[in-house]
């Protein structure tokens, strides 16, 4: 049985071109880029080439890119830098639907005496920039708002927010882990201060990330030690992965428009097909402003883990915001923040696509999913009590 991988917001396959670019630096060219000799120097040059490739993806300058170990480290670095460089300011602003890399750090800082404001979202997962204005005050050290949500794919108005904050001189970081490589990002047009990228979400390996730090932004390193990354991130570089991230960024930039169109078509086919064949399915998130690869669909009155494990029997990999998949007992904080009703929140499935998915993958999901949904509804005590008609955005979508 072949695997149909539709969980690309969790991680992506390392692109073969990326692997090819990395291999010499795992084998033949093993010099330390900090060494003075030519053997290390050639590795250093390759890292700088990767820096240019990553910078080009977001229209930044190469010296504005700091390589880190992952998206979480980049997020933590951005927030902790603000806390260190603005010690008098004790207020943080973020959203209720951030990734735990930001959210849990804010909870942690909250316990350390910082005031934290968590901006709400509406039922489509949208953020109202006006709510930010009300939350801001002179004590605000940093605003950290994600570019696109990992669960629903909903894109936040980061450009508008950045412009507002720029006028007020407030430090702004965005976690663009899910957006980078999937939609155009331009830090020249968007006056934000810091932006997070994670390699394994765009076909580079796991364990490599980057943080864009705009020139002139006051910065304090999170990992302290040697002088690597111009003293902004100590530690010997993860050379091969940095080179892989560079190659992945180049591939993403080169093929961006084509992939947006390809993935959007596949995603819409999948979504329409599921909504048409599975009664009481609803899309979670704003369908007007979403990543092209993400569909978050709730199958009401059944539970997400059960759906996932049935899909697993067909080799289909997806993800769920249901509590039972995570070891936690609470369903997705994102869907709860959106006010998704309990009839739907437990049965949410996230399908996230990549360039390696095909129409045949979509055909298979559309073939098996109605049967799975029917079987689980037959099992459910709520099966008989399901009201007529559909909820969510089904009608709006079609």
């Amino acid at each position: 049985m072949s695997t149909i991988y539709l969980d690309n917001n969790a991680t992506t396959r390392t692109a073969p071109e990326v692997l090819d670019a990395m291999m010499p630096y795992l084998t033949e060219f093993y010099g330390n880029p900090s060494s003075m000799h030519t053997f290390g120097g050639q590795v250093h040059k390759k890292i700088e080439e990767a820096r240019e490739q990553v910078a080009a993806l977001i229209n930044a300058e190469p010296e504005e890119i700091v390589f880190t170990s992952c998206g979480t480290e980049s997020d933590n670095t951005a927030l902790m830098s603000a806390v260190e460089t603005l010690p008098a300011k004790k207020h943080l602003i973020t959203t209720r639907v951030e990734h735990p890399a930001v959210l849990n750090l804010c909870h942690h800082l909250g316990r350390k005496g910082f005031r934290t404001t968590y901006l709400p979202v509406d039922m489509l997962g949208r953020l109202d920039p006006a709510a930010l204005d009300k939350a801001l005050d002179d004590d605000t050290a940093i605003v950290s708002i994600m570019f696109a949500n990992n669960e629903t794919g909903v894109i936040f108005p980061v450009e508008e927010i950045a412009l507002r904050l720029h006028e007020q001189g407030v430090l702004f970081h965005t976690d663009a882990v899910q957006a980078a490589g999937k939609i155009p990002l331009d830090v020249k047009k968007t006056p934000l201060h810091m932006l997070t990228i994670s390699g394994h979400k765009l076909h580079a390996p796991k364990g490599i990330g980057a943080l864009f730090v705009r020139k002139g932004t006051r910065f304090h390193p999170y990992i302290i030690g040697g002088h690597q990354e111009r003293s902004r991130r100590a530690g010997t570089e993860n050379v091969a992965s940095i080179i892989g991230l560079g190659k992945a960024a180049e591939l993403a930039r080169t093929n961006l428009e084509e992939e947006i169109s390809y993935l959007g078509r596949l995603r819409d086919r999948l979504e329409r097909g599921l909504l048409n064949s599975c009664p009481h399915a609803r899309v979670n998130g704003d369908i007007a402003s979403r990543l092209p690869n993400t569909a978050n669909i709730s199958f009401e009155y059944i539970e997400g883990e059960a759906i996932l494990l049935r899909l697993n029997e067909f080799g289909i990999c997806a993800s769920s915001g249901s509590a039972c998949t995570s070891g936690s007992l609470e369903p997705s904080h994102v869907l709860r923040a959106m006010g998704v009703p309990y009839t739907a929140v437990h049965g949410s499935i996230r399908f996230s696509l990549s360039r390696y998915n095909t129409d045949r993958d979509i055909d298979t999901v559309l073939e098996v999913m109605p049967g799975i949904v029917n079987e689980l509804r037959e099992l459910s005590p709520f099966g008989r009590s399901i009201p007529e008609g559909s909820g969510g955005q089904t009608k709006e979508y079609t």
Binding site: L309, S322, Y342, L379, F382
Partner: protein, 277 residues
């Protein structure tokens, strides 16, 4: 992904006794869509003998919840109501070859549905009343339930209580209160040693004997350059061969007796050890 046993997977993918019983003699309903799992148990009961002729279920929930429901119906079919009431949530978990710790609440839900159904049949009031104090507001768990499940399952930590009841698994505000409840229970009565599994099938008993020998006996013998191997298991008779330094040792009778004692302690009182000759 959860580390489910093959039995859990099988019972989830091909659950037995699914559906309603029309005009059932008893119905037990627990859980809710808000909490994320719910079970409705239907019983057909022979009124003269109080024997459960048929048991069926409908479950909203994860793989463990569905598998636990299926296991429950298999365990209670053919039993009298009193015999069925002796089935514990641990019996349900054991029937499935175990559940992940965080999923034990699914087996508790099975046991609760059984109690509710039998109470329904006997016209007894259901256990939870408005008068009971809710400790965990996120999952609507009462103090009485925490006490009962903690005592039934010898739970001594808040995490264990959360795994078995969900209490404390939401906002977490009730965790100090759960800790107080546990302290009150076990200060009055120390936790009992877990009882041996009851009502095992032959396959379950064989699996447990193998597990105990691998986990609790072989490492000790191997540490002294000895070993033991299972040759056969026939009912309560476990035939073993001593290996290494244990083979031909003058103390082999003592070794065999200690193996038998351990198996009697952890598996069943009627285990008899024999050495293969």
């Amino acid at each position: 992904m959860w580390d489910y046993t093959d039995k859990v997977k099988e019972a989830f993918l091909r659950p037995k006794n699914v559906g309603e019983i029309e005009n059932a003699d008893a119905v037990g309903e627990v859980g809710s869509i808000v909490c994320g799992d719910a079970l409705k148990l239907y019983l057909r009961i022979d009124k003269a003998t109080e024997k459960i002729l048929d048991a069926r279920f409908q479950t909203f929930g994860c793989a463990s919840a569905i598998a636990s429901s299926s296991a429950l119906t298999e365990l209670i079919r053919g039993k009298t109501l009193d015999e069925a009431l002796a089935v514990t949530n641990q019996d349900i978990a054991d029937f499935l070859g175990g559940l992940p710790a965080q999923k034990m609440h699914c087996s508790v839900m099975g046991r609760e549905a059984l109690e509710a159904a039998i109470a329904n049949y006997r016209g007894a009031p259901i256990r939870k009343t408005d008068a009971e104090r809710v400790v965990c507001k996120c999952f609507d768990v009462t103090e009485e339930k925490i006490r009962r499940v903690a005592m039934d399952n010898h739970l001594t930590t808040v995490d264990e209580v959360t795994n078995f009841t969900k209490a404390g698994g939401g906002c977490g505000e009730c965790k100090p209160e759960i800790e107080n409840i546990l302290a009150a229970i076990w200060s009055a009565q120390p936790p009992l040693k877990p009882l041996k599994p009851k009502g095992m099938t032959n396959l379950q008993k064989i699996a447990l004997i193998q597990e105990v020998i691998e986990r609790d006996i072989r490492p000790l013998l191997q540490a002294d350059n000895g070993d033991v191997e299972i040759v056969d298991i026939d009912g309560n008779r476990v035939v073993v061969a001593l290996r290494g330094i244990c083979s031909g040792c003058s103390m082999s009778e003592v070794t065999l007796k200690s193996i038998q004692d351990k198996l009697r302690e952890l598996v069943s009182d009627d285990i008899v050890i024999q050495e293969s000759r």
